[in-house]
Symmetry: C2
Subunit: 541 residues, 2 copies
């Protein structure tokens, strides 16, 4: 990024916790450098030599080992079905290095939730505290007035984030640090409504198109523009190998929907799914280092008929897979019935739950119906179980919701799910603009972020129409950075206003270079400016 | 537009009132045709032969004449300074036909407000009643439930719009039909919070670039995608001739900011402005047929110092011109002092007021400050005067406002300005994304539209950076159609949900062609789809 330098801030609480920050230098000597949150990972560090075949440095191995409670072991053997039984030239190259996986042993704390409950502050907690404070130490004097000026709907944004505050929020279940002990390449981040609003970008190959290299490139591209986590939604062949490449090269948490791969393993027929193949898939992905799993355990047999009168039925892929399974077997969902076992398994690797909203509405018409809310109530019940088992939990939300029904979603989620972080897709506030659903949903995302949603899953212009390319990924990420930041501003986040003020001042002073560089997308801003006023003189006048 | 037919619906209340509607034919024989609001004018009528040199048919001449109270007269002589004193090849061609202007005589009602107050229903009122009902006659049975499901913050959306309802809303000052008696080419539309939320697109040449032909093309382009009104913000040379071409070819209301042209007439120096040159400019534009004037009469001398501690001072061009004038002469604004005379003049042509917010904030930091609200209070005072004088009035609003301060703007405007329609620019909900201000502002626009704002002035991706080209105009218009529609949906507008439902059903049925055609931008939706799934089979599967 132009006029930017990547710096590392060492936490006062731990000498080996160095947090990356991007510092933007302004053209006016009177203006201080502006620090902004940096999701881009080592890729933007000029001292780092990118080597996708080696993967990123695995600094977190030490953090995990030094606190104990884990063992390394020979992981599960990779099977042909993990990659869709492809071979020869159709098989994507395996990641060159096989790291021996770690897992928890016994009852000692393993997850961030367990450490937090035990009153222990982890390196990850120290890291995110430093990361969230971003320039805020310098502006403590204005933090109180920023908070007083905002409207945060009764949440508890602090003036300054301490590791102890982080620990307490995690212990209460109000925040999570998705951080599989096997994802040692991770730069930890936190998701919770007393922290900066985060955004997720979906990537993933499909049966139709795209390759492993493209997916890694999309990851690097998405985090360059500000994605806080990415979800690998790959389907079809080569799922295992693609994911390996992604995780080994991902400084951000990686989420997946394990049922997608399980389905591939049974030839694509939901009816053939069972607990064994699903469990095997979970272990496979736990060992690889996936940080959070979308698990649609709230799609219960009795809820499926509630969708009968919908305009658009069940549109969540995971939800529709599980609904088909339940109806075909006329049995309660095995995800629901085996939820205890799923928790025990995920706990050993500290994989966070992202409890899926398989019955989310697929249209404005279906928003906030009984099927959706029945599932949400079940997710609340499951949240309590996951916490009892020591797991970190967030909750997924819709989807398609008109503006006047958005706050109801947020309020009900907080109530039903004990304030576990909410993670929504959009929501889209109207269905009439295919090709522009980043905008229809950006409106809803900004609003629900303001109301308390902790993470916003991006929607690209290709939503409902096709697979996003690089441009679409960028547009989706920037749109959602806007939504998340607008939400932070409205909540009165102590650091949020700083960047707006720096840009507004630059605008008023006609410091064009600064205007470009402070913005979310300096390249586009500069191009747009130069189209009508290409002369350099116009940039300083 | 694909699969679309332009039809004309004759009002049951007047045989010569024929309202254009676009009817979309769906591929499924089970699905009824979908009627959508049509702003595109005769240009999309296959039976109409476009002839820019002749201008559009002047059907409204008869309506104005038959109700009396007007005279035709020899208009003001066009002066060289009207076009910036250019000559020869620099002078844009004059519009070929000079229509003799009309003006009101005596005390008989002239304006829609006066007719409404007198209990008289005009053809324009009948026209907009029919236009707003759009498919709603067919769905009267669901109107009540749509309204009950929405949240309209205490406004009075009816199940069905009658001409009498229109008259009553205008008489209360809650709605306006901008319709200069000299803009005979107009297809009337209504602006008020009990009607569909409208959007405005700014066009206009500038000293830097663009030609007359380009501006007319931008107008036709903007209304093709859904602009309900356009503002001609031309500066520099050829202002008069450019405007003539635009108005004679505009089926939508045209607004201007007369002070821009007045400033050109005094060589660009605000200090040299005076009442005479301003009044002369008003007459010039009244005779041409401008439908609404932005008049910054609320920028009063005592308010200017209130902006001293702002981060971004005065960013409204009109506001800053008037502030300079006030300070230089140390006198109260002549717009404020001569407001009575301005009303008398505008009343004779039924030019509506758009009372300008010259002190609107230019940054998130400055939002909702004392300067802004002091001006708004004055606009409330001026609204009462304009009504007493028989004029139609709307009020302009900001600008740059974080989400949590938007509703305060709407509520204060309603209170201070006696429910006169609010017309806002955005507002932008953050300043950190130059190049994407259609999105930062689309979020704010959707919200304030929901809260009761009657018209949303679009912002294009080039805002703050350069002049919008055709693509930018389209992106701005579509983004604002999304915002306006999302607002209508949330308010519970009886007709709004219909289009969403039609699209959602098409999506669920995999009727791709219908999905494209029902959407706001069929071309883009189809292109996006075809990038990944180009085969025709994929459009019906």
């Amino acid at each position: 990024m132009p006029a930017s330098e990547k710096i590392y801030v060492t936490s006062a609480h731990a000498a080996d916790v160095k947090v990356p920050i991007r510092e933007i230098t302004l053209t006016s000597p009177d203006e201080p450098k502006l620090r902004v949150y940096d999701t881009s990972g080592p890729y933007t560090d000029p001292d780092y030599k990118v080597d996708l075949e080696a993967g990123l440095p695995r600094r977190r191995v030490e953090w995990v080992k030094e606190r104990g409670g884990v063992e390394s072991y020979d992981g599960r053997i990779i099977k042909p079905e993990d990659n869709g039984n492809v071979s020869g030239s159709h098989l994507a190259q395996a990641f060159p290095i096989a790291h021996q996986p770690l897992r928890g042993v016994g009852d000692a704390p393993i997850t961030q939730y367990e450490f937090a409950r035990a009153g222990i502050i982890t390196k990850e907690m120290i890291y995110v505290a430093e990361r969230e404070n971003l320039g805020r130490r310098e502006v403590l004097d204005r933090a109180a007035s920023a908070l007083a000026d905002g409207e945060s709907f009764g949440t508890s944004l602090p003036e300054h984030i301490t590791p102890e505050f982080v620990r307490d929020e995690i212990a209460r279940g109000r925040a999570i640090i998705p951080s599989n002990i096997n994802h040692a390449e991770l730069e930890p981040m936190i998701i919770g409504r007393n922290f900066l609003v985060k955004i997720n970008a979906n990537i993933g190959n499909s049966a139709v198109s795209s390759s492993v290299a493209e997916e890694v490139e999309k990851l690097v591209w998405a985090i360059r523009w500000g994605a806080d986590t990415i979800m690998d939604l790959s389907t079809g062949r080569n799922i295992h190998n693609t994911r390996d490449w992604i995780i080994r090269n991902a400084p951000v948490p990686v989420g997946t929907v394990p049922i997608y791969q399980a389905l591939e393993k049974v030839g694509g027929d939901p009816v053939k799914l069972d607990w064994e193949v699903y469990k095997d898939t979970l272990i496979e992905q736990c060992e690889q280092g996936v940080d959070y799993f979308t698990i649609h355990a709230g799609v219960r047999l009795p809820y499926v008929p509630l969708t009968a009168n919908r305009m658009t039925g069940i549109v969540s892929r995971g939800g529709s897979i599980m609904a088909k399974w339940c109806l075909a077997h006329h049995k309660e969902s095995f995800l629901y019935e085996r939820f205890d076992e799923i928790c025990d398994l995920m706990r050993r690797y500290d994989v966070s739950f992202s409890l899926g909203d398989g019955l989310r509405p697929g249209s404005i018409y279906d928003a906030n119906d009984r099927a959706q809310f029945a599932e949400l109530e079940t997710l609340g019940e499951l949240t309590q179980i996951a916490w009892q088992k020591g797991c970190q939990v967030m909750i997924e939300g819709p989807g398609h919701v008109p503006m006047h029904k958005i706050k109801i979603n947020m309020d009900k989620q907080l109530k039903e799910c004990g304030e576990a972080p909410f993670y929504t897709l959009g929501p889209l506030t109207t269905d009439i603009a295919p090709g522009y659903d980043h905008i229809t949903s950006g409106i809803g995302a900004a609003m629900i972020g303001w109301f308390g949603c902790a993470m916003l899953c991006y929607v690209t212009p290709k939503e409902h129409l096709g697979l996003p390319d690089k441009n679409d990924v960028k547009t989706g990420v920037i749109t959602y950075k806007i939504a998340a930041h607008a939400a932070d501003l409205a909540k009165g986040h102590p650091a949020a206003q700083l960047r707006d003020d720096a840009l507004s001042k630059a605008r008023f002073d006609f410091r064009w270079e600064d205007q470009f560089n402070i913005g979310l997308d300096p390249t586009t801003a500069r191009e747009f400016h130069d189209e009508t006023l290409p002369k350099d003189a116009h940039k300083v006048a």
